[in-house]
Symmetry: C2
Subunit: 376 residues, 2 copies
Amino acid sequence: MKFEISHLDKQSKARRGKLTTAHGDIETPIFMPVGTAGSVKGVHQKELIDDIEAQIILGNTYHLYLRPGMEIMKQAGGLHQFINWPNPILTDSGGYQVFSLSANRKLSEKGVMFQSHIDGSRHFFTPENVVDTQRIIGSDIMMALDECTPYPCDYKYAEKSMHLTHQWLKRGIEHFDKTEPHYGFEQNYFPIVQGSVFKDLRMKSAEYIAGFNRAGNAIGGLSVGEPVEMMYEMLEIVNNILPHDKPRYLMGVGTPANILDGIALGVDIFDCVMPTRNGRNGMLFTKKGIINMKNEKWKNDFSPIDPDGTSFVDQYYSKAYLSHLVRAKEILGAQIASIHNLRFYLWLVNEARNKIEEGTFTIWKNQMVKELTNRL
Amino acid sequence: MKFEISHLDKQSKARRGKLTTAHGDIETPIFMPVGTAGSVKGVHQKELIDDIEAQIILGNTYHLYLRPGMEIMKQAGGLHQFINWPNPILTDSGGYQVFSLSANRKLSEKGVMFQSHIDGSRHFFTPENVVDTQRIIGSDIMMALDECTPYPCDYKYAEKSMHLTHQWLKRGIEHFDKTEPHYGFEQNYFPIVQGSVFKDLRMKSAEYIAGFNRAGNAIGGLSVGEPVEMMYEMLEIVNNILPHDKPRYLMGVGTPANILDGIALGVDIFDCVMPTRNGRNGMLFTKKGIINMKNEKWKNDFSPIDPDGTSFVDQYYSKAYLSHLVRAKEILGAQIASIHNLRFYLWLVNEARNKIEEGTFTIWKNQMVKELTNRL
C-alpha cells in the first residue's frame, strides 16, 4: 500500500493525499460508508459507486464472522466477491461490537470470550484469530484487536486497558506478518491508538503504535461520549506523534463538522454509521444544516429534498414526500435518506480535498462547521 | 380513455391491446406493481421505470387518505406530482382495506364507518366521497366503492352484499359523472363485479355492471381463499358477460400462474402485493419456479440470482448473497427481491403479449404454468 501526500494546508494539519490499494486508489481525506453485514443498509452497490461515489467501504468483522460465517466467506472467495464490490474494503477487528453488542463477554489476556447476539453461541476472539478472520474476509485494510474504553473511564482502567491493547497489537502484528493473503492481493494491518481521554496515555500509546511503522495507523476510543473538545485535544496530541507520511484513520467519527475538524487535525480516513442510521430515522445532513424530516414544517414543503444536493434523490423527490415516507415507515424513506446522507458525506470530503489543494481549506472549514450544525 | 385490441388468441380468450390514458399508453395484458402508500415498497421510482419497466402502478386510497391525507395531496397537485411518477396510476376505492385493516367498522346503506389502524381516528367512506378522494389523488383510473365478501360466504350474505355494492355503484357513478377532475386530465371510473362464488350472483352482477358501459370493468372478491378452480369458473362466467371491447381488471390477483390463466380467460389488468410482500420474505418467482431464499441449499450457491432474469439484480448478485441478506434482515435483501419479482411479473406479461401476437399463447401458457409452480 502506498500513501502519497500531494498538498498540505498551511493554516492547519489538513493534507490531501492518495492511498493506493490492491483494489484501486482512495483519495484522502475520505469517508467510508459502513457496510455492517456485507451491505450498506438500504443502498445498492451500484448506487454506492455511481451515485454516492464511495471509494472504500467498511465491513464489520463481528457481524460477518457470525453471519454468513467464515465457511461461506471462504467459498465466496472473500467479501469483495461475496457482495460484488470491486473497490477497497476496510474491516474492523470485531472487538468494538463484542463490547457493544454481544452478551456475557469475558476479557482475558489471551482474548475475549463472548456470546453471539443472534443465537447466544459462544465464541473467542484473539489478536491472532481476528487476523485469520480478516484474511478470509480479504479486506484491503484490516484492524488490530483492541479494547475500546468507554467514557468516562478511570485512569487506572484506561492504563491497564491500553497495555492490553498494546500486547494484543504485538501478537497481532506477529501473526499478520507470518501469514499470507488467501486471494493473491495485498492486505494491510493498522494498529490502533487507545488511552481514553488521558494525555499521557494517548502520548504513550501513539508512540508505541508509531514504533511499528505500519502502512497506516488508527485512533480508537474517541467519540464515545466525551466532550468534543476533549476528542480534538486527544487528536492533536496523537497526530503530532503518529507518522506524518502514513494515513491516519479516526474510527467511528462522526458528524459532518467532526469530520472537517478531524481533517484540520490531520486525519485522513473516517467512518460512521450516522449517515445511514440517522437517515433511517429521518435526519438529513445538508450544506446548510440538519433537517429532521419528522418535523411538522416539512409535511407540505414540496421543494426538492436538497436543492444543493449532488445525488439523484435530492432533485427527484420533495421534502414533503420524504417526510411522508419517513412517517409511514416506508423502506423507500430509508433508501432516499441514506443515499442523500452518504452522498453528502462523500461530497463534503471531496470539497475538503479541493479546498486543501486550493489552499483555502481553513477559511472554508470554519465557515462550513458553523452552517453544518444549524437546525433547519 | 381508449382501448384497442390488436390481437386475439384463437385457443383462448386472451387478447393483446393498448389502453390510452392521460399519462400515456399501457400495453395489455399488464401487471400493476402496488404502491400502497405512495411507494412501491423498497423500489425507487426510476427503478420502476428503467429496470422493472412498469407501465402503471396502483395506489391504495385507504392508506393515502389516512396518510399523508388529502390536504397534503391537494397541495401536492395529486399523487403523480407527490411521488414524481409520470405514468398512469390506478387507485382502489379504499373499501378493501377498510374491511381488512381498520377497526370497529360499521357498514350501512349510506357507507362504512371505520377507525384508522394508525391512530384509531374515526372516518366514514361513502360511494360519493371515495370519488372525491380519488379526484384529489388524481388517479387515471379510480374504482367504485364495493364490499369485498370473504370466503366462505353464505349465499344470503353474498346476495345482500352484491345488492349493496350495486346501489353504491349507481351513486358513485352519478357522483363521478357530475364532478370534474382537479388537475385538468381525464380520470375514469371502473365498476366492480361481486357475487362471491355463486354463478347466478356473478352473472347478475356482471350484467348489472356491463349495463353501465364504463371505460373499463373490474372483477373483485376473488382470490380471497376459494379454490383456484372456483376463481377460474367465476372469471369465465363474468368475462362472457362483461363488454369484449373494454379492459377487464382482476383485482388483487395473483401468482404468476394465476396471471397467465387469467389472461387466457380474457383478463387484461392485474395487481398483487405478492411480488413485493413475498419478496421481502425471501420468495423469488422465476421462469423455472419458486425459490425460497431461506432454504439452506442457497446459502453457498454463488450462481447469479436468476441466470434467465432480465433485471440488473439478477446477474449482479448471487443467490448466496441474497440468501444472507434475507437471513440478516438487511433492507437490501428486500430491495433486491422486490426488483427481481416485479421485473419478472412485467417480463411475464410482456411475453404473454408477444405470444398472443405470435399466435402461440396457449401452448406457451400451458407449459409455463407447469414450470412456474415448481419449487426449486
